[in-house]
């Protein structure tokens, strides 16, 4: 019998702590698939954030390091400088990367650190029960914006890709989403491109992934996918924002 679909070896066989319909598990699986396909388990080092994905190391069978909330870019820098030939990636949520860790990501980008950043944007703080994130949409109801995010008071969603793309240190930046099988395939391609960027020593790469958090969006899985396609992508347009292979 021919196997046409199986669990990646790098994905540890265990029960998940993510909520039903959560995007984090999909992203971790895609990472595991790439590690398997490329045979890079032995040289990959991952950074887990503080956020719902803190237990990423429960799922990925590779060397992994925790970092304090928002600090993965600095910790990853310290690791990559010691092991420049390893593949180092940092996995971060929107609170982690775009609020408390803004300084660290901007300066890692500005130094052109040869590291791949996987930025999971679910527009809320999942782990702490769904408060406003820097990426929360105007009008979006969260635990700390119960009447909806009022931009006059709470500002606007931060577009990290566009913000970092203006820095000379960045090489590859793309925004993708998990809203459909097609978009998940595109997400995998983007992750591969991020790792390629690093393997070819081209410097800083970041893939922003629009990811569902049905629990704190107070939606079911289907509504969440629709919300990504119809609402999130209006603020966070999908596509390549910067690509070193396109430079003259």
């Amino acid at each position: 019998m021919q196997t046409i679909y199986e669990k990646p070896k790098t994905l540890i066989d265990t029960s998940t702590h993510f909520c039903p319909g959560c995007g984090h598990g999909i992203v971790l699986r895609l990472i595991a698939e790439i590690i398997d396909a490329w045979g890079i388990r032995g040289k990959t080092i991952g950074l887990a954030p503080v956020g719902c994905a803190v237990l990423a190391y429960n799922y990925l069978d590779i060397d992994m390091c925790e970092a304090a909330h928002g600090r993965p870019p600095a910790v990853a820098t310290g690791i990559k400088r010691v092991h420049p030939d390893n593949i180092v990636f940092a996995y971060q949520g929107d609170g982690d990367l775009a609020a408390i860790g803004t300084a660290e990501i901007i300066h890692a980008a500005n130094r052109g650190e040869n590291i791949t950043f996987i930025f999971v944007n679910n527009a809320v703080y999942g782990m702490t029960n769904g408060q406003m994130a820097p990426t929360t949409l105007p009008g979006q109801r969260t635990a700390t914006t119960p009447a909806g995010r009022d931009s006059a008071n709470y500002g606007y969603p931060i577009r990290i890709c566009e913000l970092l793309a203006v820095l000379d240190g960045t090489s590859y930046i793309e925004r993708v989403s998990l809203s459909s099988p097609e978009n998940i395939r595109k997400t995998k391609k983007a992750l591969e491109k991020g790792f390629t960027t690093q393997l070819e020593k081209k410097g800083f790469s970041l893939i922003e992934i629009l990811s569902p958090c049905p629990i704190y969006w107070r939606m079911d899985a289907n509504e969440s996918m629709k919300y990504i396609d119809e609402d999130m992508t209006r603020i966070f347009p999908l596509g390549v924002v910067k690509d070193w292979t396109q430079k003259n």
């Binding site: 388990r41 032995g42 040289k43 990959t44 080092i45 887990a48 803190v54 237990l55 190391y57 069978d61 590779i62 060397d63 992994m64 390091c65 925790e66 970092a67 304090a68 600090r71 870019p73 600095a74 910790v75 990853a76 820098t77 310290g78 690791i79 990559k80 400088r81 010691v82 092991h83 390893n86 300084a103 660290e104 901007i106 300066h107 130094r111």
Partner: protein, 363 residues
């Protein structure tokens, strides 16, 4: 060969000699000679120097390089060390070896840039959150700075624990002759926990998160056992003229240099002044302090603070003899005359006050 170096430069060179190849820092007076020196020396020896975007980033870069198995260091002064506390708690919680240098300046807040010892509590009581300790070493000269920084890397590796060097603006900026003659230590534990990529072995995880009930308490028990070992084996201090002393001074770093002068001058007095200079502030030299409290009339702790180390002295003495305090704050440095006045004031038999003061003031 002796080189004329500031304490800051001595710290930097000693780190290089100890095999540190990853330095991350952020400018702040009075430790600038250290970061500047590293920016030149690290590239010379093929190491990494990064001027980080903040002390927070610098300590987290240290966390990364330590996790990757390398000898790594950062340095700063008081306000910057406050910013590093989160990282230090994580380093202790993940049991990562590294060296952190604090060239203390006056506080609180922005304070000033002159010498101070007001970060003692922060240094020895934890500073960051959680039940943890860093090993704290207190040099009192440029030479000792070099020696202790060298030893700090060995201690860090031996115990998988961050080591803090607690200096001050005078120790950091005073130029003195320094010799680098330490030899690499053998038999340090292999770093079989470091992240290198899991090629041909089981994967490794560096973390301080223990969400399963009971695991964190178990891990804390392990930390406490380790701290107990450190307390049993790593206490260091210098004792001067403590035999048959009537009064013993306790001081570290710059204050200790001044107290040494007092001990010298006191040789002409009709009572004996001895001195204990803690070299490890944590673990604190409790045993010798306790012993002395049984033989001396009283103890005088001298600090450039409002009275911080004196609390540890009192804890060791447990009321067996009076423990007095003399301190200057906000960049003030005690003079030997001030200290002698204080001694005369607190000694039970001070009938010869005037003669003593004349002696001192005549120099």
């Amino acid at each position: 060969m002796k080189l004329l170096l500031t304490g800051n430069e001595a710290a930097a060179e000693a780190a290089i000699q100890a095999g540190c190849r990853y330095y991350y820092g952020y400018p702040i007076t009075p430790q600038n000679e250290l970061i500047n020196y590293m920016s030149v020396r690290m590239p010379e020896v093929g190491g990494t120097f990064i001027q980080a975007e903040s002390e927070i980033a610098a300590i987290n870069m240290v966390y990364g390089s330590a996790a990757a198995g390398a000898r790594t260091m950062t340095s700063s002064s008081s306000p910057g060390i406050s910013l590093k506390q989160e990282g230090m708690s994580y380093l202790a919680g993940s049991e990562l070896p590294c060296v952190i240098v604090n060239i203390q300046r006056g506080g609180p807040g922005l304070g000033d840039i002159s010498a101070s010892q007001a970060d003692y509590f922060q240094a020895v009581k934890g500073g960051g959150h959680g039940d943890y300790h860093t090993i704290v070493l207190a040099p009192s000269s440029a030479q000792e700075m070099a020696n202790l920084v060298y030893d700090a890397f060995d201690l860090a590796d031996k115990y998988r624990n961050p080591v803090l060097i607690l200096g001050d603006a005078q120790i950091g900026q005073l130029m003195e002759p320094v010799e680098f003659n330490k030899k690499p230590k053998k038999n340090l534990p292999v770093k079989n926990w470091a992240l290198t990529g899991a090629e041909g072995r089981e994967r490794r995880i560096i973390k301080s998160f223990y969400p399963v009930k009971g695991q964190l308490e178990e891990f804390n028990a392990h930390l406490q056992r380790k701290y107990k070992l450190i307390e049993e084996h790593e206490v260091r201090y210098e004792a001067i003229n403590i035999h048959e002393a009537d009064i013993v001074l306790v001081a570290y770093g710059t204050s200790a240099r001044i107290c040494k002068e007092v001990v010298k001058k006191s040789l002409r007095f009709n009572f004996k002044v001895g001195m204990i200079r803690p070299i490890t502030l944590w673990p604190f030299p409790k045993e010798i302090t306790r012993k002395l409290s049984e033989s001396v009339q009283c103890i005088l702790t001298v600090e450039m603070s409002a009275g911080q180390m004196v609390e540890d002295v009192r804890l060791a003495v447990e009321g067996r003899c009076p423990v007095h305090f003399y301190g200057r704050t906000g960049g003030g440095v005690p003079t030997s005359s001030e200290i002698i006045r204080k001694i005369v004031e607190i000694l039970p038999d001070n009938s010869e006050v005037n003669t003593l003061l004349q002696l001192v003031e005549a120099k």
